[in-house]
Symmetry: D2
Subunit: 178 residues, 4 copies
């Protein structure tokens, strides 16, 4: 998961974040960026190509922490702008109901999701984006896949921590799981 | 409910429609048109002012039948364009999961919904619209209300057949029920 | 899909049903029977082994039409009792919101779902069953599978008309898609 | 919200909890206990009568924190057993998808939900309970209301922090909002 070690007063300093991570579930959001046609049908799914702290390359979704005193929909917007750039024009869902929650455990096997650093609970949303996507920061590239391509086992194996499972759940939710 | 007595071959002639209505549940869609801000939060709800066959004036949602060999998302798009005009730019949801189903019975009291003409089962969606709305056909006018205004008992009493209840369910789904 | 050619007055005679099928979408329900543990987690999925009108053997879900003046939850209960017997103790969901809708088209390729006889739109629910299941009528047998087994491509190929896709969507919805 | 200041190693000591509350959103669950009939329809909603730390009497839902390394469905089960007793037989939903999320802010007016102590984000579920409910601990009493009674403005005013709004959202979700 992308880390957000902001320095704004009132937010957690890196040391405090480490301490808290050992003792509480941390609230995240996961967003699956999609292109849709006029009838709302998903035509493409956007996946980020990312280099992790240990140099490994992987595909992932837009993801990050919800901060203190931040609404979930504002966290979604912030992480989408951070990862896709300022003119991606994401259409944050009107309803706060996530299509699922992904529970990332530091221990493997409790759920399909795994994060060695922490216990994170992520609210997952499908977010249509209408504008130009220009990945920045630690993201290398954004690649668009058809639902059929996104359903392939090979691509899902490139998504660590159970994000391949989460992608399949998103495809199932929008009726595009092949 | 708005009637759709199309004359295209393969669709039902008015007489056949009457016969079928007496013997099968008829599939409908209901759409709640909304304006949203950049974070996806609903700022306004659009209600149609309509004159029924008997001259009564009422407020209602965008609503209509799903036709033979028509996808639900295409039915939504067709009825939104019919009621809101060609440049309303509705954003049909990516997921086919309705926020609820409304079961309109010809008998009152079975459910909160009632349609004296038929047993209709309607798939209900909240649909953000981004463009200009220009009601046409049998619609008189489209009026935008804030969520607070839309929650008022007075306004909901102007919505016959249980549509006031459906509006409240939509407001609850998007987190705007006051 | 299992046919329901009841002879009760007010329902459709077989001939009328054929006529209507050619001209309107027919409303169905699909139920995925599951066993759950105390924490609500799905441990097993029940699939019916069925002989179709043409003698082919296939696995399928509990499925059938919604009748005139029948609530969706009553249709679910009726079809579950018909296929699983009178002491299956199905727990019909409190919410009428289906986890998805499956649009079966007579033409292949419009959606993942296909029914050569008709255009059917099915409201799909996951239904925990707590009692003894004793399939009757045209059902041959009910077999329980673990979520892992139910996710296997082999098993899903034994489910015609796109029901394998619907099963995967159900598994995704309950967080059990491997 | 009911507090959970457990002393088990690995969980937060009260002081640490206070510190963390000032700097991160805290993950909660809210459960609306309901009685359902054989068709799954909600017949009654259970509300707790509770005495808060300041002596005020209020009605509330089953609610509490999700602990480190605890699954959301286990947190739901734990809080339901704590508030309703060991033989309430709650039927935790098979799907982890909440019907909504409630964002409690320490500042009033950001959302309909308010918690002066913290920024809490709660995953909200409707949970049918089939057994005997015997409230214990800090709960005074559990009272069952019909959906019509639960929809009354008077009762909802007895639910502080926006829980009346959350109850209305639950009623809307199960199709029982009058």
């Amino acid at each position: 998961m992308a880390d957000t070690t902001e320095t704004t007063p009132g937010w957690l300093a890196p040391d405090d974040l480490e301490q808290t991570r050992a003792r509480m579930p941390i609230l995240y959001v996961d967003a699956v960026p999609v292109r849709v046609d006029d009838s709302g049908e998903v035509t493409h799914i956007g996946l980020l190509l990312r280099i992790g702290p240990d140099g490994t390359i992987s595909r992932t979704l837009v993801s990050g922490r919800v901060l203190h005193h931040e609404r979930v929909r504002d966290a979604l917007l912030r992480h989408l702008e951070k990862d896709l750039g300022p003119v991606a024009l994401p259409r944050i869902p009107a309803s706060p109901q996530p299509f699922t929650i992904a529970e990332y455990f530091p221990t493997q096997g409790v759920t399909p999701y795994h994060d060695p650093r922490q216990h994170a609970v992520s609210l997952a949303y499908v977010v249509p984006v209408a504008g130009d996507c220009r990945p920045r920061q630690d993201a290398l590239d954004l690649v668009w896949f058809t639902p059929q391509e996104a359903s392939s086992p090979q691509l899902q194996q490139e998504m660590p921590g159970g994000r391949g499972v989460l992608l399949k759940q998103a495809l199932a939710h929008v009726g595009c799981l092949g």
